[in-house]
């Protein structure tokens, strides 16, 4: 009888102890940063942080589509494909490409190599210039059509998998408004990016371009670019080439905008910033000298009451 009571008490103690431990662990688990159960997104639950790797893969995939499948493998010379051409052509990425992008395959190494090139894309084309099989002159602007839309699904998938890759939003937004006339969708996508990457200068810069180039709203564009310039890490000593490239783009856009609005002092200030980061500042200094001359001559000067 005594043994039975002891057993029952032990079982009850274990039950209470187990329940208490579970309650304690549950409260800790709910606060734990690595808790995947916080989200209802199956990708977050099953793949976790690993989906960022796939995000980068699909971003690259968009560039493969930009070339209609003509793209180097890991066995080929990748020098001319260090930066995605869809991003470099959109002026939103620091171009690290070198070498001949037409010839990464090199000459045929043997008879079989020559024969096999009929069975995969072996000619360099860009979708914005007509894409595969089009009778176009490579590099000639104005020959493109809306085929560039084909890169967009991969960019959207990349943004879903890695919401903190700013190039995904800016590349998609550029081609959406530039070739497809979808500035509303471009703005929405950029704002989605800004929710994930608040105050990111690259996204603010591209949003400013939407307002300036697609909607002719220079006031909002200037505000966005000024804010982008303020928060840009490109000013820092340890800035990356990409940060400096974006800052250079922002400052040059601000300078052009100020010139368009006849605000020459502001334009000179921005051009001086451009000269600071430009790889070839001589032309910028020449331009600044011309602006100073115009100011001295009194032409195009903004009256003080119109100055911002």
């Amino acid at each position: 009888m005594k043994g039975r009571w002891t057993g029952a008490l032990c079982a009850a103690a274990l039950l209470v102890g187990g329940a208490g431990l579970a309650a304690r662990l549950d409260s800790w688990f709910l606060q734990w940063a690595g808790n995947r159960a916080k989200t209802l997104n199956p990708l977050d639950v099953f793949v976790g942080q690993g989906q960022r790797l796939f995000g980068a893969h699909f971003y690259r995939k968009a560039d493969v589509y930009f070339h209609s499948g003509f793209y180097p493998s890991i066995f080929d010379n990748n020098e001319a494909f260090q930066t995605e051409h869809m991003a470099a052509d959109a002026d939103i990425a620091h171009d690290r490409n070198s070498g001949d992008e037409e010839e990464f395959l090199g000459g045929p190494r043997d008879l079989f190599d020559r024969f096999s090139r009929h069975f995969f894309p072996s000619q360099h084309t860009h979708l914005n210039e007509g894409g595969a099989g089009q009778n176009h002159q490579h590099g000639a602007p104005g020959h493109g059509d809306q085929q560039v839309r084909e890169i967009l699904p991969w960019l959207q998938i990349a943004a879903t998998l890695d919401p903190e890759l700013p190039e995904t939003y800016t590349v998609a937004a550029y081609w959406l408004r530039e070739r497809m006339g979808k500035d509303r969708e471009a703005e929405q996508f950029l704002r989605q990016g800004l929710r994930n990457l608040p105050n990111h200068p690259q996204l603010l810069f591209e949003l400013g371009r939407v307002y300036r180039e697609s909607r002719n709203d220079p006031a909002r564009a200037r505000n966005l670019w000024r804010h982008a310039s303020r928060v840009s890490p490109g000013w820092k000593e340890d800035a990356t080439p990409q940060d400096q490239f974006i800052l250079l783009q922002i400052e040059s856009r601000l300078a052009k905008l100020a010139e368009d609005q006849k605000d020459l002092p502001a334009a000179i200030a921005h051009w001086q910033n451009v000269a600071r980061f430009s790889p070839g500042p001589e032309h910028v200094f020449e331009h600044i000298a011309q602006l100073r001359q115009r100011m001295a001559n009194g032409t195009n000067a903004v009256p003080f009451f119109l100055q911002p």
């Binding site: 209609s68 024969f115 096999s116 069975f119 995969f120 894409g131 839309r149 967009l152 959207q156 959406l176």
Partner: protein
């Protein structure tokens, strides 16, 4: 030839009775329809991602049907002991082999025809264009590749001890050639001697199945392959399939059926 065709007919009937093709086709159609229902940036004309997904599913299905059917042929006959009544008939082992090969290959080719017709329908509905010449070339090249794969699988079914081992080995070999076969010459040039020469030798010896993978040309609307080049590729596959079948026949001739 009449005997071989009779064996091939039995294999084809077996394929029609089995559920493999129907399940794979239904899955392909379902996944393609689901992917097609997604709209990116309110643009219904975006189609290439869908073509890529659909073609990837078709390729996986074709490999599943071709390798799966061919790997079962001889082991199933031996396990159920139906090989003995078959060989008791006035038919040679070579004729049985040719019949089995033709049956598996024709079944795969017929399945592929249905898949490619479906693909054409999907593209027509999305892009409002049809490229029948390109589709025909892609289908015929795909069938030619499957002839080589079926021949490899039949050889494996006689050399390897179990169906599972044969399925694994053939799949690994096929995927290996598809992914790196085209690049072996570049690897050989980077490697030192004598490894470089060995790899270059391997590059010439292996059947280059990746030649027949023209999915990128279809997805990105590249022009059709010149007919002369296409015909050479078909002949190339034919030669390899014939060589592999001859090797299989040499093994089967000496093989004890118990």
């Amino acid at each position: 030839m009449k005997n071989s065709l009779a064996v091939a007919q039995v294999v084809l009937l077996e394929m029609i009775r089995r559920k493999d093709f129907y399940v794979l086709f239904a899955l392909t159609a379902l996944i393609t329809a689901l992917m097609g229902s997604v709209t990116f940036f309110d643009d219904p004309k975006i189609a290439r991602y869908l073509k890529e997904v659909c073609l990837a599913l078709i390729w996986v299905s074709a490999l599943f049907i071709g390798i799966g059917t061919a790997a079962r042929q001889f082991p199933a006959e031996r396990e159920s002991r139906t090989i003995f009544p078959l060989m008791a008939k006035p038919i040679t082992r070579g004729q049985v082999l040719v019949g089995k090969f033709l049956g598996c290959w024709l079944a795969t080719a017929a399945g592929l025809l249905v898949f490619y017709l479906f693909f054409g329908g999907v593209v027509a509905s999305k892009e409002h264009t049809l490229y029948p010449v390109n589709y025909f070339q892609a289908w015929s090249l795909h069938c030619a590749m499957m002839a080589v794969v079926v021949a490899i699988t039949l050889l494996g079914s006689l050399l390897l001890s179990s169906v599972a081992a044969n399925l694994t080995m053939t799949t690994v070999l096929t995927l290996g050639i598809l992914f790196v076969g085209r690049h072996l010459n570049k690897v050989a040039l980077q490697a030192g001697e004598p490894v470089g020469t060995l790899i270059y030798g391997l590059y010439y010896v292996i059947p280059h199945l990746e030649l027949f993978d023209v999915r990128d040309l279809l997805v990105h609307n590249w022009p059709a392959i010149p007919w002369g080049i296409w015909a050479i590729a078909l002949a190339y596959a034919g030669v390899y399939a014939a060589l592999l079948l001859t090797g299989t026949w040499l093994v089967l001739r000496k093989k004890a059926l118990q």
